[in-house]
Every structure is written in C-alpha cells, then in structure tokens.
Amino acid sequence: MRTLLICLFAFWGGTSIAQNKQLLYGMDEVPQHLLLNPGGKVSQKVHIGIPLLSQLHVNAGASGIAAYDIFQENAGDINDRIRTAIFDMEAEDFFTATEQLHLLDFGWRARNEIYFSGGVYQELDIISYFPRDLAILAWEGNRDYIGYPFDLGELNVSGEMMTVYHFGANKALTDALTVGVRAKLYSSMIQFSSTDNQGTFVTEVSEDGDNIYRHRLIDADVSLQTAGFASLQELDGANAVTSELLGRSLFGGNIGVGFDIGATYDIGRNWTVSGSILDAGVTFYGKDVETYQVNGSYDLSGIELIFPPLGEGEETIPYYSNLEDDIEERVGLDTITNGYTRLRPLKVNAAVEYRFGLPVGSGAACDCKNLNGAIDTNQAIGGQLYTIFRPKGPQLAATAFYYRKLWQFLSAKATYTIDPYSFSNIGLGVVADIGSFNMYLAADNLLWYNNLAKAKSVSLQLGLNIKIGEDD
C-alpha cells in the first residue's frame, strides 16, 4: 500500500493532458508532425528518422496535485500533507504517465506526388484515476466512517505497453486541400485495465442484528483484465522477461488494428484549418489473458459461537473455515481466461491558423500562378483543440499559439494551453534545419521550470531526423 502511494505521488507533474503534443501539431518542419495529422502539409522530399532518436515523447502528470505539495521541506509531518491531499483531491483527478519512442521513421514523395511515410514506435500509457474513497479507507480505516458507503467504482486504472507499426499516405489533392490516412498495427506487450467497477462497502451499526456492526459489501462488481502478465510470472529473471517482451513487440503478443485520418485546408492566402482523428482502432486480446473478478454481496457480523455439546477429544465446528468458504462462494475471486477487445484511446485534433508577416520559402514564387493560394509567411497565430477519450470520458485541452520563423533554418512555436486542471501551461518548441539534419526540442509547463516540483505535469518531445527538401 505504501509503495502504491509512493508510486502515485511519484507521477508528479500532469495538468497537461496525456499525449497532447500541442507544440508539434502543425509544425511542418518536423516530419513527425504527420503522426499528429496524416493530412498535414509536407515540405520535404524524403525524411529518415535517426533510429531511436527521431522522436522521444515523455509526459507525466497528476491533476490536483504536484510533488511539491507532498515533498516540500520543513513543513511538518509528510503524513499530514498526504492526508490533506487525499481529502482535497476528487475521484475525477488522475495520474498519468506516457512515453513514446520512435524506433524507425521514414518517408518519401513518390512520382505520383503521394508522400508515403511509415515507421515503428513503442508506446507506454498509464492512467489511474484517484480512488478517493479507497484511499480514505486505507489511510483512515473505517472507525470514523461508520455508516459511510465507500464507493468501489472509483477504482479506475489502465495501462498498456505496445509497439505500433504504421504506414501512411499523404497527398495535396488541390492547391488548398491536403489529406492523409495512416494504417496502424498494434502489437501489445502488456495490458491491464480495471475500469468498469461498481459496488459499495459500508460498516453500519446493527440496530437489531446479531452483533455490534454489519460489514456490508453491496453489489460489488470489480474486475481486473490483464493480457501478457500471467506467463511473465512463470519466467525466471529479468533477462527472460526482457526477451519475452521483445518477442511480443514483433507481433508475438496481442494484435490490434487502427487508423488515423486528417486533412488541411487553406482558406484564401492567410487562413488554414486542419483536423485529425488518431488511433481509431481496436486491440484484440486473446493470448495470455487473465481476468480477475469479484462479484456479489456479503454481510459479515463476526463469528457466532453455538457451544455444541462435545465429547472428549471431539472438535468443535470449524466456524472460521465455514465463514471463509461462505465468502468464497458468494463473492469469491474468479479467474477468467476469455479474450476481450478494447478500443484504443481515440484522440482528436483541430486547429485554425492565421499567417502574417513577410512571405518566405517557395510560397512567394508561386504567387504569380496562384493569386488566391495560401502563402507561407514568417509568422502565424492560431488555436488548437485536443481531446483524448479516457475511461471516464473525454479530456479536453485548448491551445493558443504563436509561430515564428526566426531564420531560414530556425523556427519556433510558443503555446499557451488550458484544460480543466491548469491555466498556466506555457510551452516552447524549437526546430532547426542544419544542412540535412533536422532537430527539434519541445517542452511545456515552462513557468514551472524554475521549480519542477511545483509543476503538475512535465511533457517533453525531442528528436533528430535526416530531411531532404524539394530543392536539394
């Protein structure tokens, strides 16, 4: 329990919502922006990501709490602060950790003007809502909560580690409209989820019952689905586990399919709108599946002694074993090995951009042929919306951004993002094209970088590509 709490609080950092890459979205200079919108504009002819370095994205966060709230110095007993935090947080608060690492990334423009791109990335995504009632029960016990129904439904956690193989196509259908689609194959290494739980636990004073209290488990329906864990328990040592997981990343585990779609549309010379839907997909879990389930109701009032008349050496009634058997029968733990399917967490992006300032790049040359076409300028402002569909409903974030091309080789984008949990998330991303090398670094929650412990989330993306432009 203590370890669990420490782990939860360790996920400091999360007012930015998991997997929101607001800095990278729409940044044409970074080839990986196609993974955020397969219908984004593509300026290069070929790109090759440096293996393992083309994109690394990490994000850890918690709504409602920062590491500083718990671990600040010289502020009395840490246990008092944890207690305050438990009571201050809501059951809708959550802890997240996500990580994405691109193993392989490439793209090229074919003769038919379609830009094909593909690659492999590995992803880890964990979200746990805060089970407030259970945390109170664990922290305080039931003594001061006689009659209070503890809600087991607040238990809501899921996580997955997978490798994603993807291949997409992108084409400018007209001067104004670019569309794209990307197919994805998911190779799941480990997955667990406990999301649709319900039931209550209450200790109530028994007015006319047999004993002082009645401990009641009412309509409990709690389950934990796992895929890929059961067989790991049989393996011996870290090396065996590592090689097993690596095998699964090559389709040795559970498989899923999905797709991304997106489009970009220029309105006149200065306006552009774009949108994308990512990870519309499903994973089928059939291998190495175990679901643990507790289902039912039970009233416990202690053990009744009936003082049976016994002869010499005769054993009394096995009250305790009978009680255990009865509980086992009524609300026992079932292990089910039936397969299941789960939807991937769907993400939706939408953006509008207004460009101004000095014309740059090839846009100026095209102006004479295409007087109403969009032009590239050195500055832009705009807004973006991001939604990810999570077990307890969609999480929404809105971003305002300012883009500036500082020099021909260096662009920057600044963002201000709000979501239901934070109004102070400022981010900055920088992209440099030096020769054929394309480098970028983006981080948000910059206001907190003077003291990261006070930030409720940390999100970072960085990468390195080889990019060959149209003119090279």
């Binding site: 500083y68 840490i78 944890i82 202690g302 009250y319 990261l452 412990a453 970072l460």
Partner: protein, 182 residues
C-alpha cells in the same frame, strides 16, 4: 524493453534536471510515510439460554460451557507486522439470575499454547430486567505480540450453579478496534 524504456526516460530526466531544477523538496521523506488506519471489526457473538447449562441426557448441570474458533487473520504476517494496538469491546446482556465468569484464552495454532488471556465477570440479571455488562480491554506494547502469535480463541462461560428451573439468556456481542501501522 531493456534498450528502450528505462535508460531513455532516465536520460530525459537528467536532461530535465539540467535545464530546470527541483527546489525545496526532500524526497527522502517518503521513508516517513506511514499509514495509520483504525479498523473496527466485529469479533464473536453468542446467545446462550439457561437450559444450555443443563445436560439434556443426565439433567445434571454443566457449569462450564466452552467453544473455540480459529481467528487465522490474527497471526498472519500482515497482522503481525502492522497491528500496534487492539481494543476489545465485549457487551454482555444477561437475563439469567446468576453471575458468570467469562474467560477468553488466545491460543497458538500449532500446539494450543496459550499466548494471551483475559477474563471478566458478568453481573446477574432477571428475565424481567436484563443487565448489561461492558468489558473493554486494550492490548498494546509488548503484549500485542502475544496476541498476534495466536490464531484461535477459546471462550469459557462458567455459571456458579444451575438447575432446570433457571430461565433467561446470556447474550454477547463484541468487536475489536485494530490500530494499524503500515
């Protein structure tokens, strides 16, 4: 996964530390985190009638009734490590016109060795006017180890004298308040 996840996350963490800092925090405090829940749990209950103290075959009084139940949770490793104090609360309601001696002996499972024992006297009542006796016992300090070595309790109820004309009942309800430290 060895070459993918952990080192890279660590590298980024280091990078983050280079361009930012974590101030005024002391993560060693994690060692001081202690959960101290207080758990109320029903223990045993019974309802004896005066007739129970008369042997139905011989019609002679049986002055001491005894029953045993296992309490296997008491001596499991979780309880042994985390129970710091236990408050027993026994509530007797007696409508038999006799005083009772009630003894609770906690036994170690393997050889029935007694590890902890407590007893009380229940005052006499009448069928018209039942009397309540509340007995509370706190176990803490070194004696808590004696309690959490046990996995059974033997309850003995002794009546000083009995005959067939005796009426009424002796009821027990009980609970324990466990103070845990995790």
């Amino acid at each position: 996964m060895k070459f993918i996840t952990i080192p890279h996350i660590a590298a980024v963490a280091v990078l983050l530390m280079c361009i930012s800092c974590v101030k005024d925090t002391d993560f060693d405090q994690a060692e001081d985190i202690t959960l101290t829940p207080v758990v109320e749990l029903d223990l045993i209950y019974f309802d004896l009638i005066a007739e129970d103290f008369i042997d139905p075959e011989t019609e002679l009084p049986t002055l001491t009734l005894r029953d045993t139940t296992e309490l296997r949770f008491l001596d499991d490793s979780f309880s042994r490590e985390s129970i710091r104090r236990a408050d027993f609360y026994f509530e007797f309601t007696n409508s038999i016109p006799r005083e009772f001696e009630v003894d609770f002996t906690f036994l170690r499972g393997s050889n029935n060795e007694s590890t902890y024992q407590t007893a009380t006297t229940v005052i006499a009542g009448t069928p018209q006017n039942p009397q309540q006796t509340i007995f509370e016992e706190t176990v803490e300090g070194e004696t808590i180890d004696d309690l959490t070595r046990a996995s059974k309790v033997v309850v003995s109820v002794t009546i000083p004298s009995a005959d067939a004309s005796l009426e009424g009942s002796l009821n027990l309800q009980s609970k324990t308040t466990y103070y845990l430290e995790l």
